[in-house]
Each structure stands twice: as C-alpha cells, then as structure tokens.
Symmetry: C2
Subunit: 253 residues, 2 copies
C-alpha cells in the first residue's frame, strides 16, 4: 500500500466540477470508478484544485492510497483505457508517505483564455471565451499586478467565503495574437476567484472600469460595479506546486 | 450584384464535408441557408477546397454572386448570427468580376496535426490525431520533401482519380513540443491526398516503411504497404492563395 500521485488533464464541459456529487457526472466520480475497475480498490481521491463546473485542467494533481504491485505505466494505460475520452491520466508516480494532493500543495496556477477578435472561432468555441470588443491589455495587466502579495481577496469571491486572505505570487495579463491570457499563481484560490477576476479585468479592458476603481474595490471588498464573472469554459488549472519539487502541469493558449 | 468573397473557419466534426449533399449536414448547406436567410437570395457558393467529412478549415475561401447594398461588416455579423456555432465567416470582401473561389485559386495549404505522446489529450481529442509511439520526424520530413515539384501523385489517392499530376510547392514535417505537424502547399489536392500522405509518413515515422520504399511507391504508383489513411479530425485547410494576392487563412498547432 503506497500513496499514488496522478496528474490529470480533462475537458470540464460535461462535468459538474471535480468534486464528487450524487447523480451528476464529476471528474472525481469517473476517476474513482476507473480506479475501482482497474485495481479492484474503491477509495477516495484528493485533488489539489476543486475546479468548478465546466472548468478544464491540464495539470490537476490527485492522490490516493493504493495497493498496486505492477508498474505505473501499466496502471496509466489501464486507467486511460477505461476513463471517458474527456478525462486522462497523463502521469503517475509514487509519493512520499503522508503526501496529500491538496494539503501538501504549496501553489496553484490557473490560466484564463480569451479569444479577442470580431469573428467567433468554431474551432476554439468550447475552450476560450469570445470577446468581440478590443481590449486594453496594458490596463488589464496593470490591474492584475495589483493583486500580487498577501491580500484579502474577499471582493473576488462569493459572500460565504470565510478566510479570504491569499498569497498571490504572480498575476499577469498579456496578448498572444488574437488571444488574451490571464494567469495567476497563488498559494490557494477562493471559490470563483479567477472568474470574478477576469470579469473585472474585462471591464477594465473595455474601458468601463478604471484601474484605480478596481484597486479601491479590492481594498474595500465592495463588489458593486466589478462586472459579472467570466464563464467557466475559458478557465484551466494549469499546474500545481509542491515544496521542494517542480510545478506539475501543462500548457495552453 | 457583385462577387462576394468570404473566408470561413469551421469545425468539420459534424459535417459530411463542404460540398452539398441531400439529407446530410454539409458546410455548403448551412452557409447557403444562412445567406438565404440574411439576404433573401438563395444561390450556390463555390469553395476553394472541397474538404471531406470531418475535415476542418481555418481559411476556406468561398465566392458567390450577391446583391447587398449595406456594409460587409453588417453582412458578416448577420451571417455569424444565424450560422451554427461550428461554422463562422471570419472575413468578407468584394472580389473582381469573374473571381471564382475555386477556379481562380492558384494554391492551397493543408496542415495535419498529430499529438505524439503516450497519454491521450482530452482537450485536443477532437482536433489532433493521437499517436502513442515515438516518431522519427527527420525521416518523415525527408519523405515529405520528396513530393516537392511537379509529380504524378496517383499513389496518394483512390483508384478513380483521373488527372493525378500536381505541383507541390512545399511539403514539410516538423515537431513542436508534443505535436508533429505535416503541411503541404500545392496548386491543388487529389481526393484524400493529405490523409494518404500522413498515413504513409506515420508508417515511416514508426520505422515500418523506409524513405526509399516510399519514394519507389510514389514513382511506381503502387499503394501496397503504404499504411491506412490518417483520420480526418487532424486535418485543416489552412489557407488559399490567389495570384497577385497574399494567402488568406489562419493558424493552428
């Protein structure tokens, strides 16, 4: 019996988020089913990021206790053989005893992908949020950088979150061709934090909200005027960091 | 009444190719329906490339005769408002009298996208062909380059094609991270030519077929041993060239 660490990629479109819920498809549900089918052992997996309904992952990390005597290549191949096409195990390794994908993680990186051009994109429609109006990416980046440091981010989540101070290590917004990307690395994320942040940054990019007003909203926690949360289909959990190791994850534009 | 030139992007998954057929969804069918709905004029459109079932396009060019007094921005917005989400008009312009998207075109560029890693990719599963085995991309590129020039390419199409000499201007294969790309620019393409070519190149990349044997097969037209055609979901019509103008199209990896 050891502690298994898996890296997952998934297309979140069809799932009610990572976390198991009764009677609806969840990533945790299909992964635990696949593990039970392949290993005969039904257990709970823990995940570094509890991605919401419709949110994707390139580098979600999960852990579970498992008894498996064969090689991990065999395990990965068997899991990918029974998982649905929209969830895949991309890497597996044995972790040190006591490793826990969520509690051991020291940082998470999320990226939001905006397609910023007049015409919609049939090929990217499920994986990027289409914004027609031209965006002032310089102002968006200036606002994003204001979040860096140890901050109370209550303004970027719902009213029910309790401890709302987070350590934001890096928050950036930049353009690559017709794509605008927002990426944030933090110790942990509040519920809906990235989608609220991108909603506010889009208001800034369209000139409806000033960077100063955004800074004041963050300081006071007053959400009014910050714009609606951006939809989930542009959001990706990119990678997870564990102290003493490299970040684990992937890439997308 | 003028000659309208449209550039289309589409996700081919749901369509029985570009060309109209009765009782099945085609890109031509949905485009002609959208034009009729927006303009009140039902006519036939001509396309530069007759993409097959399941093949995508980033820069398909179509033309038709149309009477439209308002601006083309209005036309594009109206068409994108009624087209299904998997087909979009990304540009529109008036062409010179006598312009015909197919007969006036002097070149087409197709790209094939191979995801070459052990694990499948949930996020790219519909838009790249997954090949697990490591590929010798140097050998694949060497074989691709053999096609450059004026060649009889009968070996890369079905038995029914009649005139099979094509002018291949550029044929390359290269790796970008976990993606292997095959791109060919030619005056025109034979039916299924790209998919047969990629099937043969994959056999070369896996070491099942030598570059010399491929060269002999092209020279003799003997298909045996060339491997099955690659599936359509990795294939993209990238851009179309017209004499005296820049290529029209997009980009994908």
């Amino acid at each position: 019996m050891g502690v298994l660490r898996l890296v997952l990629e998934y297309d979140g479109a069809r799932y009610h988020g990572f976390q198991w819920q009764p009677n609806v498809p969840t990533v945790q549900g299909v992964l635990e089913d696949a593990l039970a089918r392949v290993t005969g052992q039904r257990g709970r997996v823990a995940a570094a990021g509890r991605t919401d309904t419709g949110v994707h992952a390139l580098g979600q990390v999960v852990s579970c206790r498992l008894d498996w005597q064969r090689g991990l290549d065999d395990l990965v191949r068997a899991l990918d053989g029974v998982l649905p096409e929209d969830v895949a195990v991309v890497a597996a390794s044995w972790a040190e005893p006591g490793f826990h994908a969520r509690f051991s993680a020291s940082g998470r990186t999320y990226r939001y992908v905006i397609l910023n051009r007049v015409a919609p994109s049939p090929l990217r429609r499920l994986h990027a949020f289409h914004v027609r109006q031209s965006l002032d990416v310089t102002a968006m980046d200036e606002a994003a950088r204001l979040l860096e440091g140890r901050r109370d981010l209550a303004v970027l989540t719902g009213p029910r979150a309790q401890r709302t101070v987070r350590d934001v290590r890096r928050a950036r917004c930049w353009r690559e061709g017709d794509t605008v990307l927002v990426e944030v690395e933090a110790d942990a994320f509040l519920p809906h934090m990235m989608r609220h942040l991108v909603g506010a940054l889009l208001d800034i990019g369209r000139g409806r909200l000033g960077v100063g007003a955004f800074a004041r909203a963050v300081a006071t926690g007053e959400r009014r005027g910050l714009g609606p949360a951006a939809p989930p289909h542009g959001l990706y959990l990119m990678r997870v960091t564990y102290d003493g190791g490299p970040a684990i994850g992937g890439d997308v534009t």
